[in-house]
Symmetry: C2
Subunit: 418 residues, 2 copies
């Protein structure tokens, strides 16, 4: 049994001029990884016949499974389908089940007349196997050659995901019996990448050939990922578990969680375990912390709400920050976030609260309060802890860094005060 490699081709001018960020490829890679397929190569090309054709030629040299996304919409800038038809030597035919499906969507769901352009989505090359798209009008297509498969999927993420999950992933193990890939990931906070590397150098050097360590720094935290490849699943799992255990021991002073989950879910679990609740009072983050938390299903069990006090009048009126405080120490101060945290705790009647106030930039800085200066408070009914941060980045990154660092402060506070 050999390693099976996949390649992903994404099609669309919007990717090359940078108007759209490709999130599909990352998702596809994750799903393929789970069944032991390594993505070896990813390529993006524009809506240009020759470039797509060449990508098909090139990628089929690199991999056994070629996943193609994009270029299947109903509009004229999409040339993928006729190209694939020609590439695999077929002719276009109407696929009746797809036509029925598209007709049904228009008649019964959208309740709009179907136009010629929509009906055309039911045309497919006669040399492909149609992959039903329950979430949209453009079907997926599977082309088989002697020892490779080519899969063409629509670029709309939720349509692509549905077809991958329900039709592509299940068929791959039959075509390509693969080895196994195991990943173990942990999250650290409070230590830089190079210091971490120094700390675990011996560990890294002692790793066996088939287990790799990667450093993934993000938002002031570093994830460490072990990846193992092998053909005996139980041996592999034993090996990687032993390595992972030893890695956890090495970094234990900075360990947030020994899974690949974000900070806000770590807090969610802590709160759920203890049956506790939380709220946020957000000035500079403008609701982003609340959004991070509520993006996860089940967050209503521990997240009660937030006051986004973007204007100082709201800090005064809803969070009891006094006019005097705002005029002496100012909105970005230890005293203000302390008051915000205490007030939102009372207002929302929660067990824990986060409050943040800072200068996110590019405007609003003063000599004493530069862009990136942030005060964070975390509180329960007995205690308020504050911390000042100084980030040196752009607005978006400052908002993200403030949010994850505030969440980390709360995480430590929950553990320590319990």
């Amino acid at each position: 049994m050999e390693k099976v490699f996949a390649s992903i081709i994404t099609i669309g001018d919007e990717l090359l001029i940078g108007q759209v960020i490709d999130t599909n490829s990352a998702w596809i890679a994750q799903e393929l990884n789970k069944i032991g397929i390594l993505v070896k190569h990813r390529v993006a090309v524009g809506d240009v016949w020759a470039d797509i054709w060449q990508a098909l030629d090139e990628e089929s040299k690199q991999a056994s499974i070629i996943i193609i996304t994009g270029g299947l919409g109903p509009t004229a800038d999409d040339i993928t389908k006729p190209l694939l038809c020609k590439y695999f030597g077929g002719k276009m035919i109407v696929h009746q089940p797809t036509l029925d499906h598209v007709t049904n969507i228009f008649e019964n769901i959208l309740k709009r007349p179907m136009i010629e352009r929509n009906a055309k989505q039911a045309e497919v090359p006669d040399v492909c196997t149609v992959l039903k798209n329950e979430k949209g009008t453009a079907p997926g297509m599977l082309f088989k050659t002697e020892n490779k498969i080519f899969i063409s999927l629509p670029g709309v993420p939720h349509e692509m995901k549905w077809i991958m999950t329900n039709q592509v992933i299940p068929l791959i193990p039959d075509v390509f019996p693969t080895g196994f890939i195991e990943h173990r990931t942990l999250l650290t906070a409070g230590i830089g990448e190079s210091f971490l590397a120094e700390m675990i150098q011996d560990f890294e050097e002692a790793l066996p050939q088939h287990i790799k360590l990667a450093y993934l720094p993000n938002y002031g935290m570093v994830r460490l990922r072990l990846t193992a490849f092998g053909f005996d699943k139980s041996i592999l799992q034993g090996e990687i578990s032993t390595c992972f255990q030893s890695l956890k021991e090495k970094v234990k002073d900075f360990l947030v969680v020994d899974e690949d989950i974000p900070m806000e879910l770590v807090i969610g679990r802590l709160l759920k375990e203890k049956g506790k609740t939380m709220a946020t009072a957000e000035s500079c983050t403008g609701g982003y912390i609340a959004h991070l938390i509520t993006a996860h299903p089940g967050s209503s069990a521990y997240f009660i709400g937030s006051v986004v006090s973007y204007s100082n009048t709201i800090k005064e009126r809803l969070l009891n920050v006094s006019d005097e405080m705002l005029h002496t120490v100012g909105a970005v101060s230890e005293a203000t976030v302390q008051q915000m945290a205490k007030s939102v705790l009372t207002l929302m009647q929660t067990d824990y609260a986060i409050a943040v106030s800072g200068i996110m930039g590019p405007d609003g800085a003063t000599a004493e309060k530069p862009v990136g200066m942030v005060w964070v408070a975390v509180a329960n009914k007995d205690k308020v802890i504050t911390k000042q941060f100084n980030f040196r980045f752009d607005r978006r990154r400052n908002i993200e860094l403030t949010s994850t660092n505030a969440l980390n402060l709360l995480r430590i506070f929950i553990i320590e005060t319990h």
Copy 2:
């Protein structure tokens, strides 16, 4: 003068296993586009010597400018620098200005001892021109061959952006005098991609060869982009302006804005022009609308704040939704969002308010209220408008769709009530 093409190589296993989404490529493409460079190809490879080497070989056949990001960190999974050194036939030397820079960062900014690993970042191939990285420790590198340039940049987005903006973009026009690319983008809402295509079919077919139209559907809205390429800037601008004017005319009933800006900025401009303010009361979106608005500098001029009433107790206590209402029509109802909108308008003393309540999934649905059912209200002191939406997607997308559609409802309301 010929078209100049660029290619982007991103390096890192984290991209291929899908743990990280590549946002760098989109940004780089946008910047290159502005100076007339077309990105023709983008490729992602893992931290594997042979794959990186092959990507360099392949991409240099495709393009004159090859931008390489990633693989320059201080840790052992990074092999890019020695590889580039070998590829271009150099040997590694210490670059004194970089060493001084790295030393300074540790001594004066991080105030931590510098370790061997950090010092090593000042080693570069002697055949490259060093591109200073003011934002971090890993320098950029420029390699020139007879008729191509290769630029290697760190993968950390704000470091990569600083080097691109300050050192790479300014030097390109000297090396490659290029033609011009002009884009014009507009945003539509309330019409599907295929209907839009039908509506502007004549327009599209009549476009000259060197002007292309693209459809970019996203979050229930469709952006239309015209792209023109040519060698006489003023003729090109005249042509594309004429086409764009005629496109705007064709889609005027669905036109949101004739620029490539997001919905929340359109609202921000409307409010700023009129000297008005707004607030949000968010249940199911959990602060995401507030975040979208406050992600933009200057939003404090019109955005006052938000009550994220995730729990019903907060709807009652802060937004005067009665216990009776919650028990009869429920939290996801027209009456509830009406009350939320009116209350937050009063509470925050703003001119306009948005309120949302819905079932984002995967949990929380009932027979009458399925996942994706959302009520939105927009209000000023005289009037409340409500609308029900039914989205059929996953939690993240439902949150995004609810937010942009609520913002669009407010946009229309602001225009109509003024």
